[in-house]
Symmetry: C2
Subunit: 235 residues, 2 copies
């Protein structure tokens, strides 16, 4: 086995059994039967090792659940994504604590990946006319509340007695940023300018729109984001 993956596995093993999310590089080196310089050559830093371990664990977790995504209802995907995220936190408390604990100067790539996944689902929601705000704002709102719930669950097990607790916050936040589905397919202009702007913003293609220059498209995109985050629904 590669030295790098041996260190990675040893660190993950130690981390998952540690009482508090803190492991010493010496213990990792001893468990991997490797000298200290090998570790520092591979990961540069203790923080580099920890972020690599977290990224590795999160990637594995994602690989085991990928087929669950992308159903026909993006709002349902949103809820499933929430439950998956919280489930990862409960199953790997120390990994999750490291992921969202302050102190790491560079947030692990896993957190950025989770944010990206959430944003992707939210853009599908916006494309279906189901979003009240810009996908970016909704992603920040959902991610913050979700991380707060997950951290509460992993740090204060007294709360976990209420199994509905996470679902309640989930539905509260998701219902605040989405609009209910209507029977006849896509719902245009329902919910005022904010929903329309969010929908249009999601439907815009990647590059410049046909009759507009690139600068104009960028400005339009910014205005749509601002419009979709304005709660005035009565023009």
């Amino acid at each position: 086995m590669d030295v790098r993956t041996r260190i990675l596995h040893a660190a993950a093993e130690l981390l998952s059994h540690a009482p508090e999310a803190d492991i010493s590089t010496r213990a990792v080196c001893e468990a991997a039967r490797v000298g200290a310089p090998a570790l520092y050559r591979q990961f540069g830093d203790k923080e580099g090792l920890l972020t690599a371990v977290v990224d590795y664990g999160f990637e594995q977790y994602l690989a085991g659940r990928s087929p669950a995504c992308s159903s026909d209802d993006p709002v349902q995907d949103l809820k499933n994504g929430w439950d998956d995220h919280v489930g990862f936190a409960v199953d790997n408390p120390n990994h999750y604590r490291l992921m969202y604990s302050p102190g790491l100067s560079a947030p692990p790539g896993a957190a950025a990946e989770a944010h990206r996944l959430l944003l992707e689902i939210l853009e599908r929601c916006a494309a279906g006319g189901r979003l009240r705000t810009s996908p970016q704002t909704a992603a920040n709102m959902i991610m913050s509340a979700m991380a707060g719930v997950a951290l509460s669950l992993v740090s204060r097990p007294t709360i976990s007695a209420d199994t509905e607790f996470s679902g309640r916050v989930r539905d509260a936040v998701i219902e605040a940023v989405t609009v209910p589905a209507v029977a006849g397919g896509r719902a245009p202009a329902y919910g005022g300018t904010a929903v329309a702007a969010a929908t249009l913003g999601a439907l815009l293609p990647e590059g410049p729109v046909a009759p507009l220059t690139e600068a104009e498209t960028g400005l339009l995109r910014e205005w749509l984001g601002r419009l979709s985050d304005t709660s005035i629904t009565i023009a």
Copy 2:
């Protein structure tokens, strides 16, 4: 000045200017011009010192804002309490990181105090018939989301550009656990059994209710809590 408060002030000063929420006991001792054993005699442990510092800072913050509480609208108090809490986090990022960072075996008393304050407001909401759930459940929901938002704001300053962000999550969660006020004073039985149960539970006095024994009252209290956390509103 007392040695204990001198250490406390030095630690608070160092903590507020530290780049990451971690200070060394040696630096605290040097700043307070005190030997190390004095610190350990006063606080027993580094964790004891940190919790004392956090409690001290939170207490001071609370003392400066106490008159804002307890208006005539408890739901408005809820929102004000949320903004105060997030404001404390933004003003004292390192204190807040310590307050809600995992790794401390015993959570600081400040966190328990914040939870108690929130619960107090929520019980006033329930007494006014404005709560959909039990105060305990609502407190857990609000506290988790609030801590998540606050930690996002102090840990990832890129989000703080959106000044409305905290208010959006706040309104989403608060509107999910409360019912809107009605014109004619108290609103009995509006919103189904859950609201009625929460209201009754909040209106019950501290000790045993007159025609019931103490055991019966305890059981009634437990049933009311369960009822108020059941989302079935159609009997």
